[in-house]
């Protein structure tokens, strides 16, 4: 049967559909990136290439507003990701290294709960909670809400990494009279570093990206970058929005790429390979 495609892995038309998929995913982003370099005042007409709107983002009329929002976004993301990573690392150690304990099966569901509850429902519930307790909504309430939904995202790569590390290393350390704390600090933690970094970076991006929950629990006077952009877009898409979107896009993609490469550092940490993640 010469000429007939005998490769069972191949279906006609799947490659074009894959390319279509990638095209659909990237086309809107590339168009916006392209138009962010447009010199024109209008978003419709193409003028010449310039960095005018990037200049506008940093020094224009709205610059102080966006700068304050960006500062809030970054500081909240840093603190939320740090806290979530710490909590997730402890939780992963409990789930994967501490044998049986009471409430273990419930714990698994609890850690993943923020992923199951729709974002808008979390937003409503959190707003009601803070208002019933008489909390003033603002920076702190945003931070607390972000820590909660960052936990499962940090847990994901951390637990995956820990599962890949066999217990023999810690057992060997303990055989050599290391205390459990020393086994954790000197053996498990160094091996875990790529997973922990990767978890931190993902949590950071997730926090930086959030709009819905932040929009509910932020007070009147405080904005993060997404809520500030949303507010601006409500009055129509302006060219400076495209510049700021492009900047945020580049930051996000940069962080994810970083997380991806950090996560692959140190190989698989199996007993057959020499661990190098230190």
């Amino acid at each position: 049967m010469a000429g007939k495609n005998l490769d069972l892995r191949r279906f006609p038309g799947f490659l074009p559909l894959t390319l279509l998929c990638l095209f659909l995913l990237y086309a809107p982003l590339i168009v916006v990136m392209g138009y962010s370099f447009n010199d024109s005042n209008s978003i419709t007409r193409w003028d010449t290439v310039s960095l005018r709107w990037y200049y506008d983002v940093f020094y224009g009329v709205d610059a102080p507003k966006f700068k304050a929002a960006a500062l809030n976004s970054v500081s909240i993301a840093l603190m939320a990701a740090t806290s979530a990573t710490l909590i997730a690392t402890m939780a992963a150690t409990a789930m994967l290294r501490a044998g049986r304990f009471r409430g273990k099966s419930v714990s698994f569901a609890l850690i993943n709960l923020p992923l199951m509850v729709p974002e808008i429902v979390t937003a409503v519930a959190t707003l009601i909670f803070f208002s019933a307790l008489g909390f003033t909504t603002g920076y702190l309430t945003i931070l607390i809400a972000h820590i909660v939904f960052c936990i499962p995202f940090a847990y994901l790569p951390i637990a995956a990494r820990m599962q890949g590390i066999e217990a023999v290393y810690e057992q060997a350390a303990q055989d050599l009279y290391a205390t459990r704390f020393q086994a954790f600090r000197l053996i498990l933690l160094p091996l875990m570093t790529p997973g922990i970094m990767s978890g931190f970076l993902l949590a950071f991006i997730i926090s930086l990206d959030d709009f819905i929950i932040t929009n509910f629990v932020k007070g009147a006077g405080i904005e993060t970058l997404p809520t500030a952009i949303f507010g601006a877009v409500k009055q129509g898409i302006k060219p400076n929005i495209m510049a700021i979107s492009t900047l945020l896009l580049v930051v996000s993609v940069g962080f994810v790429a970083l997380s991806y490469f950090v996560g692959r550092m140190g190989g698989n940490a199996k007993p057959t390979t020499t661990p190098k993640g230190d």
């Binding site: 637990a159 952009i229 994810v256």
Partner: protein, 306 residues
């Protein structure tokens, strides 16, 4: 949610035996106090009386659910009839999320298949290309979509200047725009679990089918699809559930006629409606819908494993 390693998936060590509770405690406290308790309070609020301009009066009432499901006339004295306004908003959300899920599957399955059948590094690179857009801010992706499909956006400009159409193709503020937005928001969610399922698929099955003179189509529908079904179901859930409660796509791409659950809820808290118990009730109904879907999924999974 499907990618998290299950605690019992593999025999675990017990280096830190006895430390389980103190180590898990921070996660318990944070998620319990700031998510479980709030959801319980939301349930409570849905049974309270509304205060004008937001907030509640601490008085038991089923007015919120009554308003959602029944119409009792302007003065509440007519016999109750079914109120379709809110039910139809929910129904539209289910429909929109369903259509978006369907299109994600149509594009996502071939993509996942194609990527999973690449060898070695190639597969990783393709997969990475699919995941990158997911990490770009959802708001920015939605704005990009809006920019692209506007009446005088690049697509229409191009079609008009090339002489294919004379009037701009009107998509924005229609159901189609919202479906497109949801599709675009969650497409990577469809690809990833199907990819994982296809990667585990044993191609000896395809060879066996081919040896027995099964055509390509028969192999696909009778052998491959049943084998990767768990991945397809997981992908559909991962697209459908967030689409159901989506706020940004309907808000930015849709109009008054494409109102969805997310906007309905938002309006009760941030908008002009200011009816907290009603917003809480609508959120509870949405949460129940999602929990039903997830429970059905969990039962399906355990049945598949038997």
């Amino acid at each position: 949610m499907a990618a998290v390693p299950h605690p019992n998936a593999r025999a675990t060590s017990d280096t830190y035996i006895g430390f389980g509770v103190p180590l898990i405690l921070p996660a318990w406290v944070i998620i319990g106090f700031f998510l479980v308790v709030p959801v319980a309070m939301m349930l409570m609020y849905s049974f309270l009386t509304k205060e004008f301009r937001g907030g509640v009066i601490w008085e038991f009432s089923i007015a919120a659910y009554d308003q959602f499901f029944f119409d009792r006339g302007l003065f509440g004295d007519s016999p109750p009839t079914i109120e379709w306004t809110y039910i139809s908003i929910f129904w539209r959300s289910i429909w929109q999320a369903g259509v978006a899920t369907f299109f994600c599957l149509i594009i996502g399955f071939p993509t996942a298949w194609f990527i999973a059948t690449r060898t070695g590094r190639n597969s990783t690179i393709w997969l990475f290309l699919i995941t990158i857009p997911y990490w770009v801010n959802l708001l920015i992706r939605t704005i990009s979509m809006k920019f692209l499909i506007r009446d005088n956006g690049p697509i229409n400009e191009f079609l008009i200047s090339s002489g294919l159409i004379t009037e701009p193709f009107h998509i924005i503020n229609t159901n189609l725009a919202v479906q497109l937005g949801l599709f675009y928001s969650y497409l990577p969610f469809m690809v990833l679990p199907i990819y994982a399922a296809v990667e585990r698929y044993n191609f000896a099955l395809s060879e066996a089918a081919a040896d027995l003179y099964a055509s390509r189509t028969v192999t696909l529908t009778k052998i491959i699809l049943p084998a990767v079904k768990p991945g397809i179901v997981a992908g559909c859930i991962l697209v459908f559930v967030p689409s159901l409660g989506a706020f940004l796509a309907p808000d930015l791409l849709g109009g008054a006629k494409t109102f969805m659950i997310g906007s309905l809820i938002e309006e009760q808290f941030k908008g002009n409606a200011g009816n907290w118990p009603f917003g809480a009730a609508a959120s509870m109904i949405l949460l129940s819908l999602v929990l039903i879907v997830l429970t059905l999924y969990a039962r399906q999974q355990t049945r598949d494993q038997d």
